[in-house]
Amino acid sequence: MSSTDNPPMPEIQLEPGALRHLAEAQVNVELDTGDMILNLGPQHPATHGTLRLVVRLDGERVVSADPVIGYMHRGYEKLAEYRTYPQITTLVNRIDWLSSFANEVPFVDAAERLMCVEAPPRAQYIRTVLTELSRISTFYLFLGEMALQVGALTPAFYGFRDREYVLNLIEGATGGRFHPNFNRIGGLKDDLPWGWISETREVMKKMLDGCDEFEDLVAGNEIFQARTRSIGIVPGELGAAYGMSGSNLRASGVDWDLRRDGRPYLVYPELDFKVWTHPDGDSYARYWVRLQETRESCRMVLQLLDQMPSGPITAKVPRIIKVPAGEVWTEVENPLGQMGYYVVSKGATGPFRVKIRSASFSNVSIMPWLLRGVYVPDVITILASLYFILGDIDR
């Protein structure tokens, strides 16, 4: 019987006034509100993909943020060991799906280096043009998307609309809107179609106008500036130590662009372009730098089209590609930052090991540090300004 009974209450002798103290303690406990844990994602409009952010909130202030990634891990490093070199370009297309062409370039470059093959000049030029076009299309989406995350709906549609022109160009040249798979080891699949160059010139003018529009509508907007200035400040040295690269790092004042400073690749050494930096390192700086880089890319494309040589588009390569044994590290400046492949070959038709160094992975690894103490809306601003692609994080 006693088991069903409640245990007897202990007799407590309370001193006079103790009850009041207890009541006050109770009130104080209630005033000390507990933290709320908010799951941003894996399905959340601001993570554009399946990033999950476990945010511990005190009111609307972030106490700590822990990104959980891997929802889109496709194991490309493992898959690459089961594929031949030409097949892998299809895989790497899907890493950063917004600038697929730019992903192919360093991989093909790695294979070419190992084989001591060099793509003919025209192929190099076309590769450079298409890389820059991918950059423009990626950044255009960012320019609109960032405004959307800050709350303005309209610029996002302008971004999508204008990006379509560039995607049409990429499709016209490669046949694929998103995943061109256009690179071949030693060159390209095809030459440019007739009329493509003049059309590209037209589109680039349109894109430059679009950049002005973004500058007025978004970058110049007071509310946008109030929302982004001095939000999410990344010091340059810390960003670099975290492996942050590309426009994100340049927005922190680090004057480093692999197109200019890295090992020469494609035809960038022959181009005249400016590397934009911004000293602030905040979300606005990242927007501003990308805006300027979009412009610069448009100018670079125009420049490339003027200098485009004629000639063959593929070098002589054997039908079955066997890559000599060796190791090579190739890195390029992708729209999102440094993209690199460490390819280990053992002389077979496929690589022995491919380490894919993707930009977003390192760019977002700073998030736990960066998000501490900001407000929920700023979390979104910072996420948007870092501009990551989930495929590029998870690979």
């Binding site: 492996g243 400073d261 890195e331 690199g340 460490y342 038709t349 380490k355």
Partner: protein, 227 residues
């Protein structure tokens, strides 16, 4: 440079004549040698990138040197490699038979700058101001795979080491929080090890291999027919 000496035997034999290094590479190497002394085991040039192999006990020190003495403020990546030959998924006669995978050499060989055993950890650091970079490698014991963590030097090494730990089963001593990064917590095995078979390819050959797949209910004998 196709005549690059890349195949090493399993031992730690010193190469009598090191590869030709550029002046910049030689300068970088000299700093490592001066600071680490015997910590530098070997070095090589891999298509323009200096590869230095560091003794495991000098691994974290090498990062510090790279960061402070060589101005390599930028961490590109930290990753691992398993030099064991791949377990070919073609042992299975019924159904498996993935002939699409490239045939790799069946004996264990090591890459640039050699290796002491099956596992290695390698990393690439760069300088944003001087525009040079160096790939560092260190050997990891196959039975007790652990390396020193770089997180105290480069905070960005955190995620890279977590990835490496789950993919290769290499521990990092001094890492604050070595949980799984991509994989679910209950995942068993280390996918990027060479003895971790890609099951999808074991069960079913790569679909891209077959041009015309037999329709369901089609009685024409398939290549792996039950008879």
């Amino acid at each position: 440079m196709p005549d690059e000496p890349t195949e090493e035997t399993a031992g730690e034999e010193e190469i009598a004549e090191p590869e030709l290094l550029t002046d910049e590479q030689a300068a970088l190497l000299a700093v490592f040698e001066a600071e680490l002394g015997g910590g530098v085991i070997e070095h090589a040039d891999a298509f323009g990138t200096l590869v230095v192999r560091i003794r495991p006990d000098s691994w974290r020190r090498s990062a510090e040197i790279a960061k402070t003495k060589l101005h390599c403020d930028y961490l590109s990546f930290v990753s691992g490699i398993d030099w064991q030959p791949m377990v070919a998924p073609r042992s299975n006669d019924d159904g498996g038979n993935d002939t699409s995978a490239p045939v790799q050499p069946t004996e264990m060989t090591f890459g640039t700058a050699g290796s002491a055993g099956r596992f290695q950890v390698f990393a690439h650091v760069q300088s944003t101001s001087r525009h040079h970079g160096v790939t560092l490698k260190t050997d990891v014991d196959a039975d007790m795979p652990t390396a020193e963590s770089w997180t105290s030097v480069y905070p960005g090494a955190d995620w890279h080491e977590r990835e490496c730990a789950e993919m290769f089963g290499i521990g990092f001593s001094g890492h604050p929080n070595l949980r799984k990064l991509y994989l679910p917590a209950e995942f068993e095995g280390h996918p990027l090890r060479k003895d971790f078979a890609l099951l999808a390819r074991e069960v079913k050959p790569w679909p891209g291999l077959v041009d015309v797949e037999a329709m369901p209910g089609d009685d024409s004998p398939a290549e792996d027919g039950s008879g």
